[in-house]
Symmetry: C2
Subunit: 407 residues, 2 copies
């Protein structure tokens, strides 16, 4: 398995396009399309929020009913969430417009929206945008990047990645794109992430892989603790690599799983590192927990702590806050057994052991915490399970961005 | 029942004092004592954090074993949490010093600490402070206020209140003090809150009342989602009012309960309103939930949402965030039945109904949200249960305070 250039257009048979449809932003692209030359098997995971955005309900129906799709149409600026029946109607109209332009059925068109909750989409602009996008489709790397750029909201850079691997003697490619960067605390999935592959794999095995992978990737990141109404992760597999279809577990499935896991891990970490206002990626690694689920809960509790996040911004080794977050996570453990380390690059510092802080250099700790990727390692010494969660620091800019998001 | 001036010294037989012991701060009082002339029945609730501060463990033992105490010694600046065996030893030494000076037993001395986690207390200064405090004890209102002032950390003002009521023909007084204002997301209790009363009430009934009341008062506030290692709420009842001891439910108990509930509600709201960096109190009222527990979860989810809190700071009626927080709370409900209102003073605005936003004036909403006390009312229309949670906005100052808390 090797990383290659590109994103959603890296795999065989995929095209993409972006356009400035004027949905809400006036000075940038805000609508994207991803298209597969042939119908693709599709798997997805979606937000668990009771208020599910209209496009989430639309996509979920397609994934459940047919498990096949050929196009994805995404807009940024307006989330089409909490928009009532009008919002559902606008999904239908957008899918109809895309389907007509592409010569496919509307129920082969997946939809995604991200932005302000509660506003209605300008449906005429959505329809015009969908038609325009159909004429701009291109299989170049650049077209995939343009799509990754168009779906951003407060993100500071696009997020895409691709891998190439061999399955049953055939070259298989898998690539993806995603966007953050606020209202990020995925529960079953993340804001918007799209993965395309030319692998041949059954709907059941694709959904199985995705549902397992999401637990340790997108579900382990948090920017602000707010689980969005629009979280959507979709994987399209069009089979154009020509490998024997993966219909059961085995080495082919394992290889595909590894690549999909690498894609999802990368995109999830990127989303955490580019959290609204963030200056650094904070990685919480828990080792030696008694169960896997407890390891996940402990790791996530640390990256979700507002006080930890503010201290990380200030490069303050105020380790009591990280311990405090372990302590209120709901997981039971022996506080006397816990060891905590701060790590960045090749530097590791022991901070806490035997129920009390150890003698360490505050100056060196502050220097370590000033890096843009900081690891907090908690050894629980209660068992053998581990987990990793990713978050970011809490900064003035997070407040600034979210105090006047709509203006 | 009527509100009167004062706090912990309002009830008969209580004295208090404050001193600048130089624990960590150099320019302010940082140690307080509350003393009852006669042994008082004591009830308490404490943090559920696995890392319990040494004074929490100390107090819990006293409440469980004897249910009696005569003095409380509290310091600010250092939390004596995550301090190992040394921290436990310093509790013993502080209690010993206070006990000797007061001529009582060390197991009648309750302790409280708040401040930085992980630092060791300067035990000589604690001992000297405890001895000094014993000589300064005074039953004046001012002495109670001085104690409320000394226990503050990042609080901007002291929090105290007192009520007077009649039980069985006798005048009973109940007063309390508390401090916030960061690491506030109490689970079974809050940072530090102390209530004194001259009522005669058994340990069982006092603990029963307190344990019920915390669920809808201190456990319903959140400043930053971080449940402290030091949360302690103690009530001392010395019986000096001369009422027939309350040993069972009935009208005497109900009256006492009402007063204790009013004290705890006031102190909890004060703590939320004075959250670190806060500019306003945000009150989330949920009505028509199917169960009481679900009403509490829904109400609290709204005040805990970082995005809601940032929008409140910006006076932005970005109501999708409040709905989103209801939606990810874990409680199931019908999103089409929800109605949401913003309220402040006499102005109430309907914002959301029938699954979509209603036509309201953004200008009027922004004006409403600019007040220092804002209510978000969510009518679930799923049943008849209601609950209220209190929080505050998320501001630049919260980040500033917590990015360099230790410096």
């Amino acid at each position: 398995m090797k990383q290659i250039t590109g994103g959603v257009t890296a795999a065989k048979g995929y095209k993409a396009a972006a356009t400035a449809a004027g949905i809400k932003y006036q000075d940038r692209t805000d609508m994207a399309m991803v298209y597969s030359e042939v119908p693709a098997t599709v798997a997805g995971t979606f937000t668990t929020n009771v208020f599910k955005a209209a496009p989430v309900i639309w996509d979920r129906n397609i994934v459940k009913k047919t498990g096949k799709a050929q196009a994805v149409v995404v807009n940024s600026g307006i989330a089409n969430a909490c928009t009532g029946e009008e919002g559902d109607l606008y999904c239908q109209k957008t899918a109809d417009a895309a389907a007509e332009a592409l010569g496919i059925s509307a129920d082969a068109v997946l939809l995604g929206s991200t932005g302000v909750i509660g506003m209605q989409l300008p449906v005429d602009k959505m329809q015009a945008g969908a038609k325009k996008l159909a004429t701009l489709l291109d299989d170049s790397i650049e077209a995939g990047s343009a799509a990754a750029q168009a779906i951003m909201t407060t993100d500071t850079h696009k997020k895409e990645i691709a891998y190439e691997l061999t399955i049953g003697g055939k070259t298989v490619t898998i690539g993806g794109m995603a966007k953050g960067s606020g209202m990020i605390h995925p529960n079953m999935c993340t804001m918007l992430a799209y993965v395309t592959t030319d692998a041949a794999i059954s709907h059941e095995m694709l959904q199985k892989a995705l549902s397992q992978i999401v637990v340790d990737t997108f579900n382990m990141i948090s920017v602000d603790g707010d689980t969005s109404t629009n979280d959507t992760l979709l994987v399209l597999a069009n089979g154009m690599a020509g490998n024997t279809e993966i219909v059961a577990e085995g080495s082919d499935y394992d290889q595909f799983y590894e690549a999909l896991n690498a894609i999802c891990t990368f995109l999830a970490k990127e989303m955490a590192a580019d959290g609204e206002g963030a200056t650094k990626l904070v990685e919480s690694i828990v080792e030696g927990a008694d169960t896997k689920e407890n390891a996940r809960i402990l790791a996530k509790s640390v990256v979700c702590s507002s006080l930890t996040k503010a201290a990380m911004y200030g490069c303050d080794a105020n380790w009591g806050r990280e311990l405090c977050a372990l302590g209120y996570s709901g997981v039971q453990f022996d506080p006397m057994k816990v060891e905590m380390y701060f790590k960045s690059g090749d530097t590791t510092m022991l901070i806490f052991k035997d129920g009390a802080g150890v003698d360490y250099s505050e100056e060196e700790a502050a220097k370590l915490l000033a890096n843009d990727h900081v690891q907090i390692i908690s050894k629980m010494n209660m068992g053998t399970e581990s987990a990793t969660a990713w978050g970011c620091d809490l900064t003035y800019d997070y407040v600034k961005i979210n105090a006047d998001y709509r203006s």
